[in-house]
Symmetry: D2
Subunit: 143 residues, 4 copies
């Protein structure tokens, strides 16, 4: 395991919510990030699918990692948009994000979220968002 | 408590993920919905703020309720966009959604998410999305 | 006419594309902006409605004005999202934007676009976006 | 030139606004669409760049074509989101859209917009949106 992935895993382990969801970082480079979340019963909605909130968590967090890798800094997600295209069924989801553009303080990234069932991948959501460096002037990148 | 809110609470109680997060429906009408989530330690990210994934869960779910109230049907969120504007600190967040437009099969809704600390409200995120009736032809509104 | 609106009109007159479309700034304050565009034949699509591109132009430009008024600076739109809810028919459209949050370098704004026909207003689109100060380090707010 | 591209060009020629902008359809298949718009003086903003409204027009219209090719139907854009990443300078822009997911009535598509200057391409914006079949029940896909 390379240094960047190891560092990324440490950060994820420091996020109580990511630990609660059982999220795992499986790839992290200067251009890409991949995050897995198991499809557990306690993460579902009322129809037996993974809750959309878990899918958007995975997309959001993978976007943040991808942007952080490109900006080489502590970052946060300023905004993102997600389209859900299929219900999330199977063993787990994997969110794969990549950097589309990186400037000095912000990066624009995309993320596809797939469900994995019997080793078969199907797209369940797709997202696009802006990742911003955490500056001295404010924690949230807006100030 | 009116019938619509009681029904909404029942649905929320059937979502294991909403139960895991401690979410509570506090308003539900044909035009509006309000959802609360406590800012607990296990829902935070590494800087001591509520994780963005919990904020987007609250926005997404409140949007879904608002759209469902307008469409008078089982619904799902087809897509949404969220801007995070301040870190979420305090006792809990409240997501207030309202219907901007409702057609026969889809509704467009908005949602503001506020943090509550010492009885003071501050905006922490704002969202906009499309809610779609679950039809006979497919669970996810896309098919 | 107040100074801020006069200044806003001057800027609009310097945008050849806004002049081409016949756009008119009808309100501009530190919190709000309003832009009108006539529904002319040369701005339509193939079904006789105003082209979506004109509707999104109006939303985008009104968002930029609203953000610029709040940030008191030259600004640009970093990103926005728009939902079209009804076809644009009538005499003109009016895009009304307001500031939801303003930080030091970015503002989050919303905009509703209405069609005006026989003095009656109907919502045709709604948008949300991020407006960014043009800094010394780059024209586009990303660098 | 194949039949699909020829049909697409005919539709574009029926859109007065697309004719006004000098837009040209350069690719159209069941999965992709490509649209070009010249960077003319009358399409600029006040700093000498192509107006963002033209960039979003190109993204929106390319998304619509891509979705229409996949859905094999008259369609419209229900919603889209765009991130502007660089100012648009050069001879023309080209918007390349592709289908990410296609269901029975809606498709989710992405579009990258590039500026072309001295035969060099640079990304200037990226978009994602939902394209909807025009049904019997309503022109705008919402009813």
């Amino acid at each position: 395991m390379d240094d960047m992935l190891a560092m990324g895993k440490q950060i994820l382990a420091m996020q109580p919510f990511s630990v609660l969801l059982g999220a795992e970082l499986t790839d992290f480079s200067e251009k890409t990030a991949e995050l897995r979340v198991p499809i557990r019963k306690d993460l579902m909605q009322q129809h037996g699918f993974l809750h959309g909130g878990v899918v958007s968590y995975a997309a959001d967090n993978a976007l943040t990692y991808a942007g952080g890798g490109a900006l080489k800094s502590a970052v946060l997600t300023s905004e993102f948009k997600i389209n859900y295209v299929r219900p999330a069924l199977g063993e787990y989801i994997v969110a794969r994000a990549k950097v589309v553009y990186a400037g000095k303080t912000q990066a624009v990234c995309r993320c596809d979220v797939f469900t994995i069932k019997d080793a078969e991948e199907r797209l369940c959501a797709t997202a696009q968002g802006t990742i911003t460096k955490i500056g001295k002037s404010g924690i949230n990148g807006m100030d």
